[in-house]
């Protein structure tokens, strides 16, 4: 199986490491400029393509790790070329785009996977398994928290461009919107607030969303670009009618470095993670790879990708309007 990666930022690099752990052949990369891709091409002994269409010509599967606003065009182009697709989250910048992307892939007979990597993080996957085994009964109130610092990419910081990224609520909170749905099922309505709606001059962002699930469960989802670098805190608390699961990155960090630093440097974008034998990003790529070669589904579908975009955009609309937003039932959205 021949794979190409579009985009060589954080996610492109991370996915490349994942593909290297599979039987797939990473035949090429493309980026905005060929210079950007050179280092990564050398590491993975692969080609740099100047042109996305040319890369598509040479692959069976394209892995799209570009900024959010580019996903739509690139997925449509790949589907038209008859290539299977792995697309970074969020699937799209709008629900209408996501609908069209899913339709195009269905029509073209190609698979579309969305990289909601949180489902592959061992603590999140284990909590889901524990719930599925009935350990805590029916989830009633779920708290999901994910907060870091403002992305500080030196140039072309698309994360901070709302038109391109959808801001923190679409880019970061979408992880937990997806997880909330995985745990508690479909979402009926969303009410949310965020700092940049309340204080437009604020340079940091923090959002809180209350999700009302069809099952009767409630979810409290928090996201933030609010802390000083390199802080990245994640946590969940899942209360059921027969028990409670608690987890936080703070309280389960197996290593605390108390070392003097020469500089207070931090990555451009914060990434969560505890040291584990296999990176969740690699585990995710492997699962997509297995699904592709065996014609199976993965634990996260394109529909899941659309549903989380729908929730995130409703949260943004709620924060902007001050009103709760009722969601169109997913069955109608994906028709």
């Amino acid at each position: 199986m021949k794979v190409g990666i579009a985009g060589v930022g954080f996610m492109g690099t991370t996915h490349a490491a994942g593909w290297a752990a599979t039987g797939a052949d990473l035949v090429g990369l493309c980026a905005e400029t060929t210079d950007e891709a050179a280092g990564m091409a050398q590491t993975y002994r692969t080609q740099v393509y100047a042109d996305y269409a040319a890369l598509l010509d040479d692959v069976d599967v394209i892995d799209i790790c570009t900024p959010t606003h580019l996903h739509y065009e690139m997925v449509l182009q790949a589907a038209a070329a008859g290539k299977h697709i792995i697309c970074e989250k969020p699937l799209a910048r709008t629900v209408a785009q996501a609908q069209e992307m899913i339709r195009a892939c269905r029509t073209a007979g190609v698979k579309l996977f969305v990289a909601h990597v949180v489902r592959f993080f061992p603590e999140y996957a284990l909590a889901k398994a524990q719930i599925d085994q009935g350990k805590i009964g029916k989830p009633g109130v779920v708290r999901l928290t994910r907060a870091s610092y403002r992305p500080k990419k030196p140039s072309g910081n698309w994360f901070l461009d709302f038109e391109k990224s959808g801001g923190m609520m679409l880019d970061l909170m979408i992880h937990d919107f997806d997880y909330a749905r995985w745990i508690s099922g479909e979402v009926e309505s969303v009410f949310a607030k965020n700092v940049t709606s309340a204080q437009p001059e604020a340079v940091t962002e923090y959002g809180i969303a209350i999700l009302n699930h069809t099952s009767g469960a409630l979810s409290h989802v928090v996201g933030g670009w609010a802390y000083p670098p390199p802080t990245f805190r994640t946590a969940f608390e899942i209360a059921g009618d027969r028990g409670l699961i608690e987890w936080s990155s703070d309280s389960t960090a197996p290593i605390n470095l108390l070392l003097r630093k020469d500089s207070a440097d931090a990555p451009d974008v914060g990434l969560p993670g505890s040291p584990v034998a296999e990176s969740p990003y690699t585990m995710q790529i492997k699962e997509f790879y297995e699904a592709l070669i065996n014609d199976r589904t993965a634990r996260v579908s394109a529909t899941d990708g659309l549903a989380s975009v729908q929730i995130a955009l409703a949260a943004i609309e709620s924060a902007q309007t001050g009103k709760p937003i009722a969601l169109t039932p997913l069955a109608e959205v994906i028709q």
Binding site: G140, V141, Y206, I208, N212, A239, G240, L244
Partner: protein, 335 residues
Amino acid sequence: MKIGIMSFAHHHAEAYIDNVRNVPGVELLGLADEDAARGQHFAQTFHTPYFDSYEALLNARPDAMLVCSENSKHRPLVEMAAAAKVHVLCEKPLATSPADAQAMVEACRQAGVKLMTAFPMRFSTPLLEVKARLDAGDLGQVYCFNATNQGEAPLHLRPWFVDKELAGGGALTDHIVHLADVMRWYLGSEVTDVYAQSNRILYANEIADERVETGGLVMLTFANGVFASIDCSWNKPNYYPTWGGLTFELVTERGAVLVDGFKQNLTVYSHDVRRPLWAYWGSNINQAMIDDFVAAIREERAPRVTGEDGLRAVEIVAAAYESTRTGQPVRVART
């Protein structure tokens, strides 16, 4: 100074009785309870006189009373004390409706007696430390709170807590008021709008009264633009290491402050119980509250938390219930 206790319906009376005895120059007059068996039991347990009626206790000429009845019975007892020109410290929530709370405030004002609401978090040393830093400008402008006041459902402590008629409601009644009061105190700003969702999945099989909610998520908006979520759920199982807790993340222009009001614990593993228990070693907030109540009477000043503060919190709870009925944010009605 002589202090009596009206009703031992609320288990906090068991702590307050020691707090009263610890204040130099204060005499514990005794207690009265409309449930004679309960009153006699606690009078015996704490070696204090039992009075056959509230009138009999008032005839013994106390200077002040602690009202620790069921929530819905606060009003008649406070009015009775006020009519006898006796100062009152009333358990929270001050009342089960804004009209009752308003009547209590008015009765005490007209009688010229002090009315304090039992909001002991105002006396928490960690919370006071953060308040001092906030007032000193160390934290910068406040953007939002992400707060929890969760606990086990108090049905094993006293069954009336889960009886709508006596308690006024469930988790929303029990656990919104402390944080709403802390936030008003921190910000010096009033709540204008409340959105709330509630459910009864947790403890559903153990709580018969179907009008009593056990899960709740609330979003407050303040006049100064700050927003705040409160998770007031009874989400801890009754074998949790402690009763519950109160936490908040205070997000500001400079980052965030994480506050846990009950973090000052030992974790104790004992052969006697065979599960970890948290033993609290932080400063005694109830003692500090009772000390202030006595000092306010002696110094003829307002207590650090008043009947009006209790009333404002009750108005917020009423708006939260209305929001759960309408599904919309509700403007707080000032009585």
